[in-house]
């Protein structure tokens, strides 16, 4: 029953699966992002209060959502590393960190750009902004810890432990708006009941969200492939693959 699982976790078969999957994820990301951003930036009606400045949500909201999801994914992969010591999960942990850090940085920068005209300041010491900044530091800590080790497996296990301990931050970010009285507005789409956003604005937002998730899946998958090739560079399947690539 578990043979498919074991086969999936073996580096060469996962590499081949990723090779087949990645182009479709990339294509889906390009189509959805192109549609979402074009529709959102050109066709969607301007907000009655924020005018055209609200359009930054088509970058900001997906980046912020994905930065939290990637951290959770990294922590879950970290749990798998610590308990079952699966090599593939180690690659997942170290591949997610740089992508997650970039998405967190994008969410912070776009939020600051929006904050200047709306709140009158690039930065306020608000719970949600600060937690997102701490999330960036956590990602950078994982990257720095990974760089400091010589041994790839020990590095991945240390990063996994750090990611698990740091995961306490993720619920704090998510619920900080409810816990502390925050300047940051509450969620308009991820909540129970009817979404408080016009369908013309919501449709491109959903497309941009899905596109950003697919793009991150694509980027992480490609990083995992590189990590696998680098780690397995001594094995026959990696050598065969690399020689086949260089001949083309």
């Amino acid at each position: 029953m578990w043979t498919w699982f074991h086969r999936l976790a073996s580096p060469p078969s996962f590499y081949r699966l990723a090779e087949r999957l990645a182009p479709w994820l990339g294509l889906g990301a390009v189509v959805l992002l192109a549609f979402g951003w074009f529709y959102g930036l050109v066709y969607a009606p301007a907000d009655y209060q924020q005018k055209d400045a609200f359009r930054i949500i088509y970058v900001h909201v997906p980046a912020a959502a994905v930065s939290l999801s990637l951290y959770s994914a990294m922590a879950i992969a970290g749990v798998i590393v610590v308990i079952w010591r699966i090599k593939l999960a180690e690659c997942v942990v170290v591949s997610i960190a740089p992508v997650g850090a970039s998405m967190t940085a994008i969410a912070l920068v776009t939020g600051m750009l929006w904050g200047k005209p709306m709140w009158g300041a690039y930065w306020v010491w608000d719970a949600r902004l600060t937690s997102e900044l701490v999330l960036l530091f956590l990602y950078l800590g994982v990257i720095g810890l990974h760089e400091a080790f010589d041994d790839a497996r020990a590095a991945a296990r240390a990063c996994s432990l750090l990611a698990i301990v740091g995961s306490i931050n993720v619920p704090i970010v998510k619920f900080s708006v409810e816990w502390w009285n925050s300047l940051h507005q509450g969620s308009t789409i991820f909540k129970m009941g009817k979404a408080s956003i016009s369908p013309d604005m919501a449709l491109p937002l959903y497309a941009a969200l899905a596109g950003t998730f697919l793009f991150c899946a694509y980027a992480v998958l490609r990083r995992i492939q590189n990590e696998l090739l680098w780690r397995e560079r001594g094995t026959s399947w990696a050598k065969e693959h690399l020689s086949a690539v260089t001949v083309h």
Binding site: V134, L138, G141, L161
Partner: protein, 221 residues
Amino acid sequence: MSGVWAVFAREMRLAGRSKTEWMMPPFFFVIVITLFGLGAEANDPRLADFAPAMLWVAALLSTLLTLERLFRGDLEDGTLEQVCLSRTPLVLATAVKLLAHWVLSGLPLVALSAPLALGLGMRSDAIGVLVLSLALGSPCISLVGGFVAALTVGLPRGGLLLPVLVLPLITPVVVFGAGAVRSVQDGLDPQAPLYFLSAILALCVTLVPWAATAAIRNAFD
């Protein structure tokens, strides 16, 4: 149980023989706060408003000073390996070592914070909450810092990495710790942040020794 007691007694004996190492953090704490007092205008009443944040960050930084040596010395002279091999469960030995670290470096800071807060012009009711918040928060700093120290113990540049990894992890403790004192100063009830701090402490005490143990084992693999 005898193994656990032996680890604790060894820590105390080592501390008694190298006094400078354990005298430095409280000394650093006092100097930093003194410099804040001297850097601001003489007898500036605003100092009291900023005192909670200053005292909390200074306590955090002074605790960081000793964290790097927490496991490094034991790793270099082979003690850590012997503890790993001994019949005493490693998680208990680690927990006791972290407890000893708090007794030696956290507790003096808790005691020192009251006179320093008085010097910064804080009200007496706020000073009581400050001491309480540091008593609840400094064990969290020792525990989380000890976990990161275990994580970086075998690394050549571990000392550089350690503060960068500890500080983001400890953010909630500082937010609630300094927040409790500030709410007293603003005339509010400090119970909610103090309860949050206690919850974080309970979480740290129960979970961090396991994570630190896994990190130590990772250093030997």
